[in-house]
């Protein structure tokens, strides 16, 4: 809520002066007796508050201008940059502008259009409005000299003078401020026309927080329809990937299927997330573990939500779609097939860390009849009823790393660290330069090892001997097993199923090459 707007400038003889204000009396009260003395004359002297005491019958000014005038019209050095100050429970936002030109007295014209908000109001969305208004006023003055000219118009009243505001005497600034306050407070937008070329368009828009980067294993799902194509220009990436966003494919898969570069897909999806069109889900698979959250209370207590859930999760198979006439059967037959709300409630509450999804499905076959389990989970995730338990892998420190990394933490000297065998040393060296080569050659910054896309040929084959992991992949895997990347991410980057990967890590080969892996869920 905008409390007031005022236009103030440094007057060559009066010092900082409020010329216009809206609402009238908001900053400088009209004081009939001290018509001239309420114009503070000294920029330096900021201690003179109380000098402009308002008369009793008038509303209290929002802020005492003389107190803050030094900040509203600051030193030239501070001009042309946003400046706001809090006073008397209000926040005054402004962007002082100082124009230098020989045509002005003292060669300068310094002004500020200041916005007054409650101190507790979030000022963030207003900064742009203030900046744009300042730019608009600057343009008015620089191009057409409107501000300076207005003061010469006959009959103009300054804020605080008797008879303010004087309408229809040539100046338009008061009307601009009036319209601005009215429109912005009314509908969050303003369009104020001063002349054909000078139109001020403002919109109060709160800022969206940029979502984190999208991972390759995340599954975008449209939760709100995109605006029609003729209303919203879609970029090429979005056009290309849109048919592939179906709540099932993960980002990397979309990139491959749509034949678009991964980074572009990530970027496009991130933008959809920013605008609230897409929710990111985790990869759905039957090894996943889900648990209920405290939100389940609201679900259980809300019939509406349960109905919505039922409509969403009910299985719609193709065979039922081909013939509409079979749809309106007797109620007795259909009601048997509709999942009961009771079942939905029970199903959500019986998801625990105990079982991965496939066990859960097996254990609840009866109740899950006619329920699309993927949609069931998706609904739970979107409504925050469920939380996915992710697996994380972290490599157990080898004894050598133990003593180096944990030196500060554990004074225990590990006497067991044997001198490394020659072969092991060679392998260590080999790995070191590979790691270096990987981190330099790839586009990803070395500080944050991201899974490089292993587009060129798959180096593991699931042959008779199980999984084969090449040396480059091994390095990538090593980077991913740091406790910060969940197994979905690792699996997508490695293009392996979780079971196979875990099998390999726990198998002989994996143990030899990677050491022991600690797998933890959270």
């Amino acid at each position: 809520m905008l409390k007031a707007v005022f236009y103030t400038r440094f007057h060559p003889t009066h010092g900082p002066s409020v010329i216009h204000q809206y609402p009238p009396d908001s900053i400088v009260p009209s004081n009939k007796n001290t018509k001239t003395s309420d114009l503070p004359s000294d920029l330096e002297n900021t201690d003179n508050d109380g000098a402009t005491a308002p008369s009793k019958d008038l509303p209290e000014p929002l802020v005492t201008f003389s107190s803050i005038s030094a900040s509203i019209i600051p030193a030239y050095e501070l001009c042309d940059a946003p400046l706001s100050i809090c006073s008397n429970g209000y926040r005054v936002l402004g962007l002082p502008v100082s124009l230098e030109d020989a045509k002005y007295e003292r060669n300068r014209f310094t002004f500020n259009v200041a916005f007054v908000l409650d101190e507790s109001t979030d000022a963030q969305p207003w900064h742009r409005i203030v900046a744009k208004t300042a730019a608009f006023f600057t343009a008015l003055e620089v191009e057409d000299g409107v501000l300076q000219a207005e003061e010469e118009s006959v009959g103009l009243k300054w804020a605080g003078q008797e008879g303010y505001p004087a309408r229809g005497v040539g100046g338009k600034i008061f009307e601009v401020l009036e319209a601005l306050v009215g429109q912005v407070n009314g509908c969050g937008e303003a369009c104020v026309r001063v002349s054909d070329v000078h139109v001020l368009n403002l919109r109060l828009e709160s800022e969206r927080v940029a979502p984190p980067e999208v991972k390759g294993c995340e599954v975008p799902m449209l939760v709100r329809a995109l605006p029609a194509e003729d209303l919203w220009t879609r970029d090429l990436t979005l056009l290309r990937i849109l048919p592939y966003i179906n709540g099932v494919r993960h980002v990397q898969r979309i990139a491959e299927d749509a034949d678009v570069e991964m980074e572009l897909v990530q970027r496009a999806v991130r933008e959809l997330v920013l605008h609230g069109h897409v929710r990111l889900l985790d990869l759905f698979h039957f090894q996943a573990i889900y648990v209920a959250t405290a939100e389940l209370k609201n679900f259980t207590e809300s019939d509406k939500l349960q109905e919505e859930c039922r409509k969403y999760v009910i299985n719609t198979s193709a065979s039922s779609q081909d013939d509409l006439s079979t749809g309106d059967q007797g109620d007795s037959a259909t009601s048997n097939r509709v999942p009961k709300l009771e079942d939905l409630r029970n199903l959500y509450s019986s998801l625990t860390t105990e079982q991965p999804l496939h066990d859960f499905v097996l254990a609840h076959t009866t109740q899950l009849t006619n329920i699309d389990i993927r949609r069931f989970i998706t609904f739970g995730l979107v409504q925050n009823l469920l939380r996915r338990i992710h697996k994380y892998g972290t490599l157990k420190p080898t004894s050598a790393q133990f003593s180096s990394e944990g030196a500060s933490l554990s004074p225990v000297k590990l006497s067991t660290s044997k001198p490394k065998s020659n072969e092991a040393a060679v392998r260590e060296f080999d790995r070191a330069w590979k790691r270096a080569a990987l981190s330099s050659g790839w586009a990803t910054p070395p500080s944050e090892p991201r899974p490089p896309l292993l587009m060129s040929g798959r180096s593991f084959r699931s042959g008779a001997g199980g999984v084969e992991i090449g040396e480059e992949e091994e390095e990538v895997l090593r980077g991913l097993l740091d406790g910060r990347h969940c197994f979905d991410e690792v699996c997508v980057a490695m293009r392996m199923a979780e079971g196979k990967l875990l099998g390999w890590l726990k198998g002989r080969q994996g143990r030899e090459r990677m050491g022991e892996v600690v797998v933890v869920c959270r």
Binding site: D80, V142, S319, Q321, S335, S349, T365, R374, V518
Partner: protein
């Protein structure tokens, strides 16, 4: 865990007759946070997400609002603000944060209207917040004006009975010490007091500062004729907040507290005046001898306890830590409280049945206490057990509950403890969704050392992240209880696990209704492939499973045409059993009568308030003074009879 508060500098300004003066600021070359500048945000809110460019834009963040004005061709010419040194390593001593010192001095020394109020000004994304303090109208700082000391003292003294239990991190100890120091305002005292820095007595400047200081104090403040009489001082914190609330945090917990403490010192011994004079002298000398900036900073830090204190505050608080400083021999701690530590929100109220978890080892905490043996705090810490509720601790320590509560609050405030439900082997614990898994490697040796012969950290985590079980089932024998509870405390302290609680409602008239038709149909049918919006084509490589494979389908009914029945009449949940409707009362009565256990029948109404989906069943025993085993047994009984709908969550 720690929030960034975007603190970039601390400044102290004074005002005297000749005008305002920036006395000291730290660090010498404040670094802007960049990404927190509001200019940057302006760009981000465009529909285009330019995250590729973020790293490069750090520096340009501040300039972007300027572009707005430069777009419309401002003719203003001004020196470009720069934050770096000149090429020759000399910093531009006339500018701080890219602004001329003169401008800042004028801007940050507001008029008397701002006295002892929050002063906040935001310059192009940098917010300055402070609490200006003025001398009284006649220019005196003396304590004749009783308003403020009383105010300050009211804040200091909390509970008289606990006067002696302060830790070194508390300011409450201040009173006796500072009074002792009032008489000797020699720099040696200051040097000793702020034990962290060394004073250089042979320095000429400090000598001069001393002489001035003593004369000031000896003549008291009656000598208002002194031209350089300080009329105001103002400690300002410059920061780039990402949220507006950060500013009020910085003000409330740091700027205001510090200003009040300094005001107190100033009234007692003209502390601020003396220190500022000393700092200005060093500054003047540095300017005269063209001393390098870092050298003069070093001298200021070494020569003035105030400068050192401000540096400490800045460094600690900007790192999200607690700053412990000494002002004029008086101890003071400031911090911006962490969100989770705040005791104001409803959930974290320290009730009699809450427990406390120490976040550091007992011996570490005890070492930090100044009077470790005598104080009640030390006693409390020594005897503390995470398995006991505050009520129980109050009984076993023979200390009034209010005192225990006070001690607990004190520990929480200074981040030495957190509120938990008392640890119990009958509780269930599960992995925390914020578990620092990447820390496991580091913590494994620490853990291994403490719990040498017990299951390893990964093993414990694995057990606790599996099937939810009572913690007691993990403990192999009665003798192992204590160490296993220690392990649990360790895991909670490091945020690996948290308690899993059970919530639920009573339900009435459950029906054994179960459609055999449905299940048999489902089993006999293979899933049918189909195309819907959400179902993609199958692919062997895909790990995500599509709809056709995730649903047990209905064969012959169009879903849209199905009639959705009202909530099944055969299950009725009583959501608010404390305020039942008429029907619900009848149902509750019916449930009660059907209970076979006579004791439960008797206690049934006592349990009712907990069956509202909001109160954890685990709380019942403590709150109602029942046996845990009994409560569990009853809940199991109700569940068996089909009267209970439960779910578990953290």
């Amino acid at each position: 865990m720690k929030r960034s508060n975007g603190l970039i500098a601390v400044l102290i300004l004074t005002r005297s007759k000749p005008g305002p003066k920036l006395v000291f600021h730290y660090p010498a070359e404040p670094q802007l946070v960049g990404s927190n500048s509001c200019g940057e945000h302006n760009d981000c809110s465009d529909s285009e997400l330019e995250y590729d460019e973020e790293p490069e834009r750090e520096g340009s963040g501040r300039d972007s609002p300027r572009e707005v004005t430069s777009l419309v061709n401002t003719v203003a010419t001004q020196p470009e603000r720069s934050f770096s040194h000149d090429a020759n390593g000399h910093s531009d001593s006339d500018s701080v944060l890219g602004y001329h010192v003169d401008s800042l001095e004028k801007l940050l020394s507001p008029g008397r209207w701002s006295a002892r109020k929050k002063f906040e000004i935001c310059l192009d994304g940098i917010t300055f917040v402070g609490h200006p303090v003025y001398a009284s109208d006649n220019g005196s700082w003396s304590t004749q004006d009783h308003g403020t000391p009383a105010e300050f003292e009211a804040e200091r003294v909390t509970t008289p009975t606990l006067g002696r239990l302060q830790t070194s991190t508390d300011c409450n100890e201040a009173a006796p010490t500072s009074k002792a120091n009032v008489t000797i305002a020699a720099p040696e005292t200051v040097g000793q007091a702020a034990h962290d820095f060394t004073h250089i007595p042979e320095s000429l400047d400090s000598q001069r500062g001393l002489s001035l200081a003593t004369s000031m104090t000896s003549t008291s403040t009656a000598s208002g004729a002194l031209a350089e009489q300080m009329t105001m001082f103002h400690v300002v914190f410059a920061h780039q907040p990402h949220r507006q609330s950060v500013t009020s945090d910085v003000y409330q917990h740091v700027a205001k507290k510090l200003a009040k403490a300094l005001h107190y010192c100033q009234k007692q011994t003209n502390y601020v005046g003396v220190e500022c004079r000393r700092l200005l002298a060093i500054k003047a000398k540095a300017k005269h001898t063209k001393m390098p900036a870092d050298e003069s900073l070093k001298q200021m830090l070494e020569g003035s306890g105030l400068a050192w204190a401000l540096k400490e505050v800045f460094e600690r608080v900007s790192a999200g830590e607690i700053a412990g400083i000494r002002l004029n021999g008086m101890e003071l701690s400031v911090q911006i409280p962490q969100v989770e530590a705040s005791t104001s929100d409803g959930k974290n109220i320290l009730g009699p049945h809450t427990g406390l978890l120490l976040l550091e080892d007992k011996d570490v905490l005890l070492r930090q206490l100044s009077h470790s043996d005598a104080s009640p705090l030390a006693y409390f810490i020594r005897e503390h057990a995470a398995t006991k509720s505050l009520q129980k601790q109050s009984t076993s320590l023979n200390m009034p509950f209010r005192d225990v509560q006070y001690l607990a609050r004190h520990l929480i405030k200074w981040r030495k403890a957190q509120i938990i439900a008392p640890l119990h082997r009958r509780n269930m614990y599960t992995s925390n969704s914020e578990a620092p898994i990447d820390q496991i490697r580091k913590l494994m040796p620490v853990y291994g050392q403490r719990f040498a012969s017990l299951p390893s950290l990964p093993q414990m985590l694995k057990v606790l992240s599996g099937k939810p079980i009572q913690y007691g089932l993990v403990i192999p024998s009665r003798d192992h209880r204590a160490p296993y509870m220690e392990i649990l405390a360790f895991l909670i302290r490091h945020r690996f696990v948290m308690q899993l609680k059970t919530y639920g409602w009573l339900k009435a008239d459950p029906s054994p209704y179960n459609s055999l038709v449905r299940s048999s149909k489902a089993k006999s049918k293979r899933p049918v492939s189909g195309v819907s919006l959400l179902s993609p084509h199958g692919d062997e490589d895909s790990m995500s499973v599509s709809s056709e494979r995730t649903a047990i389908p209905i064969s012959d009914v169009q879903a849209d045409n199905m009639t959705f029945d009202k909530p099944s009449p055969d299950e009725f949940i009583i959501f608010d059993p404390s305020h039942p409707t008429e029907d619900e009362s009848a149902m509750l009565e019916h449930i009660r009568e059907s209970i076979p256990d006579p004791e439960l029948r008797e206690r049934f109404s006592q349990l009712l308030p907990y069956f509202d989906g909001e109160h954890a069943f685990e709380e019942i025993a403590a709150e109602e003074a029942m046996k845990r085993a009994k409560v569990e047994e009853w809940a199991a009984l109700l569940d068996r009879e089909g009267h209970l709908l439960t779910f578990r969550s953290v």
